[in-house]
Structure formats: C-alpha cells, structure tokens
Symmetry: C2
Subunit: 383 residues, 2 copies
C-alpha cells in the first residue's frame, strides 16, 4: 500500500472515502518481495476497508465450487440469500482477517464434488453428507429435514515472501429456517419449519465436522484460523436475504472456540398483509418518502426497501424505485427530487442506496455512506 | 441557492463535486418570493452545473409532446439518438441559460398534435408539415426524403416575483443523415442518404419557420431568447447517438442570429469491419484495456465503448462490460481490477464511465469525472 498517499487522502477526505470509494491504485502488492511471486498480482483496493483480490497468472482465481449453491438451491430458490451470505461472510471476516494484511481469494479448498457430498444427506453411499439420513417419513414434523442448503468458502491470503499462502479460512453454512420438499417427484410443495434452537444445535454440530475435515486438507495447517458462521436463509419468497445468527473462530486444531451471537434482522418495506414492521418509525419515514416521490410522475410502478437492523438499530437501507419514465431530463429531475426527498424524509445517520430502474434497466442511483450528510448521484446516460 | 453553504462545500471539495455529484439540498427556491408561488417547487440540484427542475402542485411538469419522438422514430429507430439529443440540447442551453439563474421545465409549448403536424410532410391537409411534399417518387435519389425525424423542446424558467415565467426556449431539430423508407407497406427497407450540405440548408430553413411560429405562441414574448440546434441523428444500427452540427440563438423577433458550427463526433469501439477508428491512440488504449480485463475471468461476454470527440479531441468515454459472473465477491474483485486497469491503460484527463452488467442487470459501475485522478466505484449489492 502506498500509505503516504493514502494517509494524505484520508486526512482531507475521510468522510468521502467511504462514500465515493475512491480507488487506491496499488496493484501487485503481493509481487514485490520475491522472484517466484511474479505469478501473483492483486486487484488494487477501492478503499482501505475493502479486500484486494488475488490474480494468478493474469487471471482471477474463481472458486472451484462456484455455482454449486445455486444448483443446490432450486427448491428454496432465492438469489438474495446467495449475495447476502457472500457479503455477510466478507464482513465477518474483516474483523478476523484485516483487509490491510490479508488478500481475498475465492475458496479453493472445497471442490465441487466435496461440497456436493457435504450438502447431501448422510447415507451409505455418501458418508460425508452433513444433512441427516432420510428416515423415510414424508410428514413435515416427523421427516428429517434438509438443514444445510448452502456452503461457502472464502480464503484469506498473506504474503509468504516468495508468493502467497493461505492465512485464514472463512466458511458460511447456509441453513434452512424453512425446508421446502415434495412428497413425489414433480409433486406439490410442502415445507418443514425448523426452530431456531434446532438450527443452532445442528449448525454448530456441522461446524465441528467441517473444521475437523478442513484441518486435514492440503495447505491447511494446525493453526490456520478458521472462521465459521451460521447463516439463516430467508424464505424462498423473500425479497431480501437472511442473516448470520452466530459465528466462531477455530484458532488452532479442532477446538471451535466460543460462539458469538449476532442480532441482525432484514425486512422489506412496505410490509405486506398483516405483517408488522420491525420498527414503526422507520416504516413511517419510508412511507412518507414513498408518498412524496409517488406524486412526482403521473405513474410510478413501485418503491420497495430492503432494511437492515443490527442489535435492533437501523443499520442501512437499499431502496429500489421502478418507473416507466426514462427520458434523460425526466430522470435527471427525478433523481434530484428523490435525493432531496430522501435527505429530508428518510432516517439520517445510516447508509442508504437508492436505485432508479425502468424496463430499460438501471437509470440512476443515489448513495449516502455512513456519516455522510448528502447523496452521491449518478445518471446512466449515453453519448 | 444557499450560496454560503455551497461556497463552503466547494472550497474543500472542488474536485469531488464534479465526481460525486453531492446533492445541494435546496428545494423551493422558486417559491420564496410571493404568496401565489406556493404552487411551485424545484427539485434541488445535484451540482451547481445541473438544472433544478420545476415541480408544480407537487408534480413534475412532463412535456405534453412526451413520447412523440419515439412514435415518429419507428423507422430509423435508435433510442441512443433520443437520449443523446436531450443531453446535447441541455448542454448547449447551459451556455445561454445559466443553471444558476434558470430552472428547467420539460417543453410545454408544443402539444402532441402540433409536433406531429410539424414532423409530417407538407400537404394540403397538413400545411404546417416541415418535411417536403411527397413528390410521388420511390427512387432513393429522386424522392423527397424525410429530413426532420424528431423535435424536442426544453423550457427555461425564471422567477417572476409571484411564481415562474418562461425565460428561454431551446429547440432541437433531429435530422436524418439517412432516411429509411419502404416502397410498399410492410415492404423491404430502402434508404436515402442526405448530404451534410443539404441537411444544413434544410435544417436552417426549418429553424426559421419554427422561430416564427414560436413567437406567435401564448407565453412567448418578442424577446424571449430561443436557442435552436440542428441534431444529426446516428444511423439506425448505431450503438451511439448522433451529434449537434450547429446552433443559433434568436434573441428577439424572428432574426435567427449567426449560426455557430460545432465539431463533434461519436464512435463506438471496437470498430467493426473495415472501419477505421477516429483516433488510433484512443482505439489502441481501449484495445489494451480490453485485453487486460478479458483475461480476468475465464469468459467475458464483451466490452464496448461510446467515445465522444469535440474539436477532434477526446472528450469522454462510456464503457459497458458484459459478464456472466455475478457472485458478490467476484464482482467486487473485478470492479477493483477494472478500475486499476482503466486508470493505467485508458486516456487520462477525460471523464470516463464504466458499467459492469450481467444478465441479472447492472452489477457495478465506476466513474471518473473531468479533472479527477481516480474512479468512484459502486457495487450493487443486497442485504
């Protein structure tokens, strides 16, 4: 890292760095200390709190198990869960594996076949299955549900002098709060609801097995720290992903350490049906904002928000506005109005992203970072 | 305008204002000086060089002729032309009608029926048609082509003490360099190519008629300045819009003033077939950039750039990268790598926007404003 330059920038721009993500151009930081290391490069970092990624021989190291969670996820299919789990694991990892020291690499230890076996049920042909044996029952309350729906690995690399070596591993186990299943092939969908207590018990038991197995893998030493988090998936019809319920760090050997509980919730506003919003003030603010911007154009297709809470406090909002208007000047005026209205009516002091979309795609977006007083805005235009 | 606040912000943030478009929250600037004026609000401005828009009774004043250009444009259909013409007219207007003094309003003078008549051919049933009479001929070189394909009006409002009044008008006449037509209904498509000299001559003659007609309209006084620009449309298969060839300002009456020539070009990179790039250096830089980022993922669907030249000098680039990768961490790493590569390989000193898309929509974007040294970046993520 060019620390002098960065420090200078941070001094004058500290509140804007997080907002604007000014790129700190520092590629090849992994390739400065040895001859063998020329195969490695890094991506450079957008901000100091974002990981650089590993590039090997000019190519990004994609995960070998890439796409597997998607395939496994056809029943409780919800792409929000996938992105949300990736992001959540990255954020948990930042506390253990500082982006200043570690470089991110997509998981390389779990191959597709290994991950597929783990996600399967335990059986004579699949002794590695982390999900329980099929007990033959079809009733929601007596069958053995599928607890583990997704598994995600992230690797955190450090400089080894002549290249890079594994410095830490993060694993997310994506667990089903609701397990969707059919009694016959192509049959009607049923579901088993799993209690939080059961999910935690099963997840923690799986975590122990996972750490034991990882310790035996090539490249993992007895003291490579392994962060392991339990992610509770949102239901299949949710318009927002789930959250991590707890995590632990196995610093060495197979001792899992102490589990840390997390208290996070996601919700979508406006709430539908008879559901009650998690926080009435936030829901009211969003409702006032929606009312104000809805009157701007004669018709507006709809405005929804993903809302994130940590320890019962509002931690951020991601708002999507759908409009059928897409004239350049219409979008410009609307974007300015949305920004003005958001600053006036939405909760202050939390990061807010607002995306304005039409059937033609993303037209504009506004973003206010943590601690920032106003919105950055961008209109997607054309020459 | 809250000038004190703005001046303070500009002092410390002068290079970032243009990059980040920090919103200056100043709504209702048109409604401070009179009682009757409470019907008017403005949108607030993103930056001091962007127009605020008029809001009347809580609603944006959309243009009455809205959507007409789209309808007229089915033959030479190219949505790039529409956005590009809107943007170009806005930029031309800024020199005449300063955003510090004037507020933007979508054109309110030309109704749909009037605009439709103007865009039609002159005939006994349509004496107002600005396109020439049908001479009955079907041959590309002997028929009378459709010169005028689009018409766009923008209004610039000023404070009138007790509300707002029209302070200036801008009109764009969208002209066909190539006029597409069929000889029979649903028949094969033919085209007439029109020389620049003819286009200028016809366009300037139309401009004179347009100014004469506008002067007679309600709300337009003898000394309301009318900016009128000739926009040469890109061909129907172009992936970038056209450019304005010249413009004039009729300060009062029907005297058109002196036409000002503009020397602007747009092109798409990479060039296809045997076409030659307008500027070899720019084309090479873009090619090097593409090569570098193409190796990042195993497959990348394609990278194209809209390039804008003013007086033969590069004035900006808008790059679109299509990828089939959309894992959150994949997109994060890629975005950082794209930013690093762009800063290293693409021309410096000009504004560059880069959008990263997948079939799932816009995944990330990077933007470097004029005079800025690094890219702002944003990744579209989800809770």
């Amino acid at each position: 890292m060019k620390k002098t330059l960065l420090a200078g920038l941070m001094f004058s721009l500290v509140i804007f760095l997080s907002a604007c993500g000014k790129l700190n151009f520092d590629s090849g930081s992994g390739s400065t200390s040895g001859t063998k290391s020329s195969a490695y490069q890094t991506t450079g970092a957008v901000t100091s709190d974002m990981y650089q990624g590993v590039i090997k021989n000019g190519r990004y190291q994609i995960s070998s198990a890439r796409g597997l969670t998607l395939q496994q996820n056809t029943q409780g299919s919800n792409t929000y869960n996938i992105k949300s789990m990736e992001n959540g694991l990255l954020n948990l990892s930042k506390e253990q594996f500082s982006p200043q020291k570690y470089v991110f690499q997509e998981g390389q230890l779990l191959s597709t076949s290994v991950a597929r076996n783990w996600l399967g049920r335990e059986s004579s042909s699949n002794p590695d299955g982390l999900n329980p044996k099929d007990n033959g029952k079809k009733d929601p309350d007596t069958r053995n549900p599928i607890y583990l729906q997704q598994v995600l690995e992230q690797d955190y690399m450090v400089d080894s002098g002549d290249g890079m070596k594994l410095g830490g591993i993060s694993i997310a186990l994506g667990l089903n709060k609701v397990d969707y299943y059919t009694k016959t092939q192509y049959g009607a969908q049923f579901s088993t609801t799993i209690s939080n207590a059961t999910l935690t018990e099963k997840g923690e038991a799986m975590a122990k097995k996972v750490v034991e197995r990882l310790r035996k893998m090539n490249g993992v030493s007895a003291d490579t720290p392994i962060l392991i988090g339990l992610y509770v998936q949102a239901e299949s019809d949710s318009l927002v992903g789930g959250t991590f319920s707890n995590y632990t760090v196995a610093k060495s050997g197979t001792n899992l350490g102490t589990w840390q509980n997390l208290n996070e919730q996601n919700e979508v506003l406006p709430v539908v049906g008879n559901n009650k919003a998690l926080n009435t003030n936030v829901a009211n603010d969003f409702s006032n904002f929606t009312t104000q911007i809805n009157s701007f154009f004669p018709t507006l297709a709809g405005t929804t928000a993903q809302v994130h809470y940590v320890d019962k406090e509002l931690a951020g909002m991601k708002i999507t506005i759908n409009t059928q208007f897409y004239g350049e000047t219409e979008i410009m005026s609307f974007t300015q109005y949305v920004g003005t209205s958001a600053n006036k009516l939405l909760p202050s002091g939390v990061p807010i992203d607002i995306t304005i979309q039409s059937v033609q795609g993303t037209q504009a977006f506004l973003s206010r970072a943590n601690g920032d007083k106003s919105f950055y805005s961008h209109i997607f235009d054309s020459y």
